[in-house]
Amino acid sequence: MSATEVDPATTNSPEAAMASRARFAALVQRQGAFAIFVLVMVVASFSFDSFLSRGNLTGIAVQASFLAMLALGMTFVIMTGGIDLSVGSVFALGGVLAAWGSQHGTLVAFALPLGVCGLIGLVQGLVIARGGLPPFIVTLAGLLFARGLLLLLTDEGAKTYKVPAGSSFRKLAQSDLLGVPYPVLLVVLFFAIGALVLHRTSYGASVLAIGGQEDAAELMGLPVQRTKVLTYVASALLAGFGGIMIASYTSSGVTILGVGLELEAIAAVVLGGTLLTGGAGTILGSLIGVLLLQVIKNVINQVGSLDSDWQAVVSGSILLGVVTLQRWLTRAERT
């Protein structure tokens, strides 16, 4: 009776109106952060002459690239309905290991942090997927573990490993291609791969299915455990890689970096429109979330009279605003 009678004639009125409203809501859900980002950019460029200067923009992009690596992994984790609190510490640990490793050659500077961080991710993933423990707890333990390891390695943070002066390892984050710094290029590359993986591979499909309805994913025969393990490994590897980049960029293993960075990554992902409950979101959104946070930092730094602690206050308020808006829109759309 019903189905076959929906013909084009009827779809262009009420149906279409509903659909376009839904599409608008979805747009804001996904692009809300983008709108605010553009707004902040416009206001900043009028307020500060130097804001749009090449140097400043490049600075923002490079500064954002470290957080972006964490946010990319976090996006996948959150899409499965999980959370990874360990990434900030893993990032710092990766940086210290890379700086130490660079004294033994560039290869070690890459292999050592990736190996250790990957292992941390693997253990976390296995415990979460096989043991069924809540990701919050497991990665909180991971956070403590990684930070403890880092303190052990650095005599409670007193020792700072330096990247040798002539080491080719420095090139990773300190060179550029046609004026675009390597870290920025790497972020673009990684995010492009990330988007491809999410939308065009069965792993990506599993990630979304698990976050959307885990029981269903299980009954559909999807590799739920494997997908989760892979996701936490990827998150730790990306955090470790971010650490490698920062070690190269600063030419040293800075131990105090990365504290609280996991929360910034989560904020960026949520700003970017990924549902904290999992199952839906975009990779590009997370990148915009990262940029937004970084631009806010930059703007507040430029207002000389403002304490840099305002960064957190402003970022927090914007996060709350965007999330409330998203919530409100999804509500409006569903009724």
């Binding site: 559909m220 025969g221 009724t335």
Partner: protein, 540 residues
């Protein structure tokens, strides 16, 4: 798979393609299955029946590797198999539609159909275009026209069920198992499903079919296996069995005893008073409802009839405040109820047993007791003190009345069988003692025994002066249960029928007649669409 079994004279006589031998499964102390032998032959449609909690879904989950049996074994094509999970069973060619619609609401229809086996391009990446294309073709085969890139969660339950069917059909399988696939389907979709099932059977596929709508069994199935309390009771050709025999063997009661009961358990018409309990006037919901008027008196059961997309579920949701209305007014016992607020509706005495139990209502991790008590807590604890004893007594009464099969009131609802979860929800609403009770498909998924119990409960409540609005896609239930039937069509009330001298077939004809008088195909726009996508369960 063109197999020779199509020419076999008696269906179900070939070597079994899938079987269990002495399968036992316990959960804690509960014996869900006790030494069950089951054989599915290629080229047959095998009905699996039993009361709620008899073990049907558990047997299916053992067959498909979701659960490992405690004892006994599963054989596929004559070989013993130890499936480690549903994917193992899928890999060898067993497609399953589990009882709960088990898809991912946030993903698109096409994604859901192909999850885990998406078409790839030559780079090994998912070929989205061809995925959507194939999905469209599958849905067209099922005569469901919808946008396959639409989020599944936006579809009505029936359409979601058809997507699950499309998923099961999208692979070549030797076995297709369907656990209550028709419970949320309308007559037309059921017909489509049967056509598909028969086509698969003729290709030599073995099908398992579970349903509490017994008439469907004789229409579709070749053989039947009956389970009772986790035990195998009977297997044999359906043609040799009468409905009475089947029911009595299911319930474990004598044929005579069962025969003495009517088709439904509803009594005659009710005593009504003239002051209306609820007056609904001019309810408007954009694109859905167009000026619905409805009056229900105390002690009266008003049926809402209509085809898919006619706006039945929307009407009760709008009354309950769960769907945003653009205009209209609801008064209960003479007092106006503020629109669009479930809380106001509740405190005015309106209760809704909604169609989509899973999404709205049940809290799987709470116990049976707490799920029932949830609704009465505000009332019973008005003075700040909750009488535990009173709640226990209430819970106990309902568990007995509705034959809720649980190991104890403390058992988590998640662990109950599908039909028993349904009963818990009914119990919850019943004990709120509403003034007006809106029932959307109250007996869906409930076995014959408990169905009549639910029906007589509704009857009894009406006798006591409750005003009831009843939605059911079973004509018998409407004709016998309701005093009046309001027929909805395209979101407005079309006609009203007195159910006293009405037969089911007359009602069916009335519904169909409504249809043929005005269904402008490709005519003027502005009429509400009634794709299955818009019909139900949207305002969750």
């Amino acid at each position: 798979m063109t197999s020779t079994t199509t020419t076999t004279p008696a269906r179900g006589t070939g070597d079994p393609v899938l079987e269990t031998v002495g399968v036992t499964k316990t959960f804690g102390g509960v014996h869900a299955l006790r030494g069950v032998d089951f054989q599915l032959a290629p080229g047959e449609i095998h009905a699996l029946v039993g009361e709620n909690g008899a073990g049907k879904s558990t047997l299916i989950k053992v067959l498909t590797g979701v659960y490992a049996p405690d004892a006994g074994e599963v054989r596929y094509a004559g070989e013993t198999r130890h499936f480690r999970g549903p994917s193992d069973a899928q890999d060898v060619g067993i497609s399953t539609i589990y009882q709960e619609v088990n898809l991912v609401p946030l993903l698109s229809v096409a994604r859901n159909i192909f999850l885990g086996r998406e078409p790839r391009n030559r780079f090994g990446l998912i070929d989205v275009r061809s995925m959507n294309q194939q999905a469209r073709e599958l849905m067209r085969e099922l005569t469901i026209e919808l946008d396959v890139s639409k989020e599944l969660g936006r579809l009505g339950l029936g359409a979601q069920q058809m997507v699950a069917l499309a998923r099961a059909m999208s692979v070549e399988s030797r076995v297709v198992i369907m656990d209550e696939p028709t419970s949320s389907l309308e007559a037309k979709e059921v017909t489509t499903l049967f056509t598909v099932a028969r086509r698969l059977r003729d290709r030599g596929v073995g099908l398992v079919f579970v349903s509490h709508r017994l008439d469907e069994l004789w229409e579709l199935c070749d053989r039947v296996t009956i389970l009772r309390d986790g035990r195998w009771v009977h297997t044999g050709p359906l043609a040799e069995m009468s409905r009475l025999e089947l029911v009595s063997s299911m319930l474990g009661r004598d044929v005579e005893e069962v025969a003495s009961e009517g088709a439904t358990e509803f009594g005659e018409s009710h005593r009504r008073s003239e002051e209306p309990a609820m007056v609904v006037s001019g309810i408007e919901v954009r694109n859905r409802l167009h000026g619905i008027d409805l009056t229900v008196r105390p002690g009266e059961v008003v049926g809402l009839a209509g085809l898919l997309g006619s706006g039945r579920s929307e009407t009760v949701k709008a009354i309950y405040g769960a769907m945003h209305t653009d205009a209209g007014e609801v008064t209960v016992s003479g007092k106006k109820v503020r629109a669009n607020s479930v809380r106001r509706a509740l405190s005015a005495g309106i209760a809704l047993l909604s169609e989509d139990r899973k999404a709205e209502g049940i809290i799987p991790d709470l116990s049976v007791r707490d799920n029932i008590a949830l609704a009465v807590l505000p009332r019973m604890s008005r003075a700040g003190v909750v009488s535990e004893g009173k709640i226990d007594a209430l819970v106990e009464t309902f568990m007995r009345r509705l034959q809720i099969k649980a190991s104890s009131p403390q058992q988590k609802v998640r662990e109950l069988s599908g039909g028993n979860q349904q009963k818990v929800l009914i119990a919850r609403w019943l004990c709120t003692e509403p003034t007006v009770f809106l029932l959307d498909e109250p007996t869906r998924g409930i076995d014959v025994g408990a169905k009549s119990e639910v029906q007589s409960l509704i009857d009894e409540l009406a006798q006591q002066g409750l005003a009831v609005v009843l939605i059911s896609s079973e004509m018998d239930e409407l004709v016998e249960g309701a005093d009046r039937i309001v027929v909805l069509h395209d979101g407005s009330a079309q006609s009203e029928l007195d159910s006293r001298n009405l037969s089911s077939s007359e009602l069916l004809r009335a519904l169909a007649g409504d249809r043929s008088t005005d269904s402008p195909r490709g005519g003027q726009t502005g009429g509400p669409t009634d794709s299955p996508t818009d019909s139900k369960g949207e305002a969750s």
